[in-house]
């Protein structure tokens, strides 16, 4: 039987458990003075029984599904004639895959050696057996749980607290999931980065001023210096992000102030969604807007002033990116500004402050933590943005702080390093992970700094 079928059966059993537990509590209540003499409401007894029925069995099901494949393959591999068993771990995995593919029928069996066909046959048999055992075991456990849970139902039994405890653990598990995912991502990036740092010293990577990741395949190739200095990339990222923030922060903040403080209801009803549409435009679309419209325009204007502007410039990418992230700032800032209590404004207005003084001296300081949070979100967005930069500011890893030059960013380089055919043992590919790690560390530091800044300058209202 398939795991999904077992799952649905299990859910059915749990539902049954709910009604059985609830029914038993109602039956108990009948002999007393009604539901009021039960410790918990009947539904809680139902949930309690359902949880006993469903949870342990579900856990067993999960473990079985996860462990099933590798255990069975291991058993089959053990039974192979030792002469055929490869000693190399890579070869071993390949063989195991071959057997499992044969057993499912993905690989045609014609022309395969007999011992493999036998093994596949055995695997098929074992898989089937295992799934049946699983179904029986899981459902049996569910039944035991159901009986156990239902037996526990009594008038004094504190089902309410028990159920809520389980809910609390479930919430905790969800919170952990997010943390473990982050941890998993960090670790996976970290291990690949360590591989990379075996071939390129950390100092060369972090402090190197030259980025040209082409490694030579043949010794006589030209232009394959293979130098991995990340500084130009981070400089480029910084430059583009700073340009973007210069556009997004003032415009976003001011539009938020207008929307929250000055706009009347009907204007707000249209203006706010309209602003938020900006966030819904795909970044690729922004990318070609930047590349085809903004960048040439900036170049033309620049040339009019006698400046030399590259046709793909950090300014173009940053400006368009800034427009893209306006709604992140304006929307969040609008929310926190609106959340500042009217009593604060009244207090200030009643002192004879004008509307604008009230906003500058009372409302904005009170809303500061939320505003900074919005800006931080926007900064992360700017640093992580790839598409616009690829299209509008080029790929050249120039170490420059001139926004009219073409630059490249960390994320763009990660994309170029990881697209196309890659070999996962060359520093060129692994460099992508090291860049990712660095980027992660940089944004982490930025976030911590921002939190500290907010902590120091916040004005907390009650």
């Amino acid at each position: 039987m398939q795991a999904s079928n077992v799952f649905f059966l299990l859910m059915g059993l749990a539902t049954l458990g709910f009604y059985l537990g609830r029914g038993r509590s109602l039956a108990l209540a009948k002999d007393l003075r009604g539901i009021r003499d039960l410790h918990s409401l009947p539904n809680y007894y139902g949930y309690y029984t359902a949880l006993w029925c469903g949870l342990p069995a579900l856990l067993l099901l999960c473990i079985w599904v996860v462990a099933d494949g590798s255990v069975l393959t291991g058993v089959v591999m053990e039974s192979l004639p030792s002469a055929e068993l490869p000693s190399d771990s890579v070869e071993y995995t390949l063989l195991a895959n071959k057997i499992s593919n044969l057993s499912i029928g993905v690989l045609p069996s014609a022309g395969q050696p007999d011992f493999l066909l036998d093994a596949a046959q055995q695997l098929r048999y074992l898989t089937q057996l295992s799934s049946w055992i699983m179904a029986v075991a899981v459902l049996a456990l569910a039944m035991v749980g159901l009986i156990w849970g239902r037996a526990a139902v009594s008038a004094n039994f504190r089902a309410r607290q028990r159920v809520e405890k389980v809910v609390q653990y479930a919430l905790f598990a969800c919170a952990c999931l997010a943390i473990f995912t982050t941890l998993g991502i960090v670790l996976s990036v970290l291990f690949e980065s360590l591989q990379f740092f075996k071939s390129v010293p950390v100092a060369d990577f972090v402090l190197g001023l030259d980025w040209s990741p082409q490694t030579a395949i043949r010794a006589d190739q030209v232009g394959s210096s293979g130098s991995f200095g990340a500084v130009p990339l981070f400089a480029g990222t910084l430059l583009v992000s700073v340009v973007a923030m210069f556009i997004a922060v003032p415009i976003g903040l001011m539009s938020a102030i207008y929307l929250a403080e000055y706009a009347n209801r009907s204007v707000r009803a249209y203006a706010k969604p309209a602003l938020e549409i900006l966030a819904g435009i795909p970044t690729v679309v922004y990318g070609f807007f930047a590349a085809l419209t903004v960048a040439p325009y900036i170049r033309d204007v620049g040339e009019g002033w006698g400046l030399s502007v590259s046709s793909e410039s950090a300014l173009a990418a940053g400006a368009v990116m800034g427009v893209m992230i306006i709604p992140f700032i304006s929307s969040l800032a609008d929310d926190v500004i609106s959340a500042v209590p009217q009593a604060m404004r009244d207090g200030s207005l009643a002192m004879g402050a004008t509307h604008s003084e009230t906003i500058r001296r009372v409302v904005i300081p009170a809303a500061l933590p939320g505003i900074v949070a919005g800006i931080m979100l926007a900064v992360s967005r700017a640093i992580g943005e790839t598409m616009i930069v690829v299209m509008a500011s080029g790929m050249a890893a120039n170490l420059t702080f001139n926004p009219l030059d073409s630059v490249t960013t960390v994320t763009v380089q990660i994309v170029t390093l990881l697209t196309g055919d890659q070999e996962f043992d060359s520093p060129k590919t692994l460099a992508a992970f090291a860049l990712g790690l660095m980027l992660f560390i940089v944004t982490l530091i930025l976030n911590i700094v921002a939190l500290q800044v907010v902590k120091r300058f916040r004005e907390q209202y009650e």
Partner: protein, 295 residues
């Protein structure tokens, strides 16, 4: 009988209150169709003079034809059941109602003869002259010092830091808060207790030397001890300021005010010297209210 102004005997009041559904004239749940305020609503040396004021929230009328004077250095208390328009009336006096969408004020409100609703009037300047203390203490999320210095700073009342320090200290002393906070002037005002916060708000209001202070139930969120301190403070302040206070506590009105105005469903029913209002009210509704028959 519709002219409630002529009412005043005990019998009629009793009848009205005991049988409010009978359609006799002074049901506490209906507006009097024709109405005039009874009592001494005019004074000789008026600081503010309010004539025939109506206030509307959108289509709904909240204040009906209120006329009353507020004397110089007088404490006038406004009492009445919840929703009777006391606060709305108070907020009309420094045009705080301007901040409420759809709120409209008609009639004539003058301070020292100057029309407060004239288009030429500078609202910002008016509010500096007519300060306000709110029901819930609303100190700014700034330090105690900055709270008090807020008004003087925006109005440019202090040229130097020394001047400002002096204003802050003087205001806090007048609000009898100085001794409690002088060692922590630079800590957050929101960290004070409720009563201290309210006194801080009073200090903030008097820091700009207003002429009139409006208080909208300033003690309703405070415990009895904090309330007693605020009441003492009001008495002291009345030497220099004209004070209009809205309160739900009749004892408070009796303790702090010279005159008391009774509001009922947006109408000003009676204005008289406080002692008289609480001992021999002229109007049946006033009597019903102060004897606790409703409200």
């Amino acid at each position: 009988m519709n002219t409630t102004a002529t009412l005043g005997t005990d019998n009629m009041a009793m009848a009205a209150v005991k049988k409010p559904t009978e359609g006799t004239d002074v049901s506490p749940f209906e507006l009097a169709a024709e109405h005039a305020t009874v009592g001494s609503f005019e004074v000789e040396n008026a600081k503010m003079s309010i004539k025939n004021v109506n206030v509307y929230y959108g289509d709904k009328q909240a204040i009906f034809d209120v006329s009353v004077d507020i004397g110089k250095n007088e404490v006038i208390a406004m009492i009445g059941p919840s929703g009777c328009g006391k606060s709305t009336f108070l907020r009309a006096l420094n045009r705080m109602n301007d901040t409420v969408d759809g709120c409209r004020v008609e009639g004539d409100i003058r301070m020292d003869g100057q029309d407060l609703y004239s288009p030429k009037l500078d609202v910002v300047e008016l509010r500096a002259r007519v300060g306000m203390v709110f029901q819930k203490p609303n100190p700014f999320p700034k330090s105690i010092y900055d709270n008090v210095a807020y008004g003087p700073k925006i109005h440019g009342l202090a040229d130097t830091r020394v001047d400002l320090d002096e204003i802050v200290e003087r205001s806090l002393r007048r609000a009898s808060l100085w001794d409690e906070v002088k060692d922590r002037l630079y800590q957050a005002g929101t960290g004070l207790s409720g009563g201290q916060q309210q006194r801080l708000c009073i200090a903030r209001a008097i820091a700009v030397s207003p002429e009139v202070i409006l208080m909208d139930e300033p003690c309703s969120a405070l415990d009895p001890i904090a309330t007693a301190r605020i009441e003492e403070l009001i008495e002291e302040l009345s030497q220099n300021f004209t004070i209009a206070i809205v309160t739900h506590s009749m004892q408070q009105a009796a303790r702090v005010s010279q005159r008391t105005a009774y509001f009922h469903l947006g109408q000003l029913i009676e204005v008289n010297p406080t002692e008289q209002v609480f001992t021999m009210p002229e109007h049946a509704l006033t009597e019903s209210y102060i004897t606790g028959r409703f409200g």
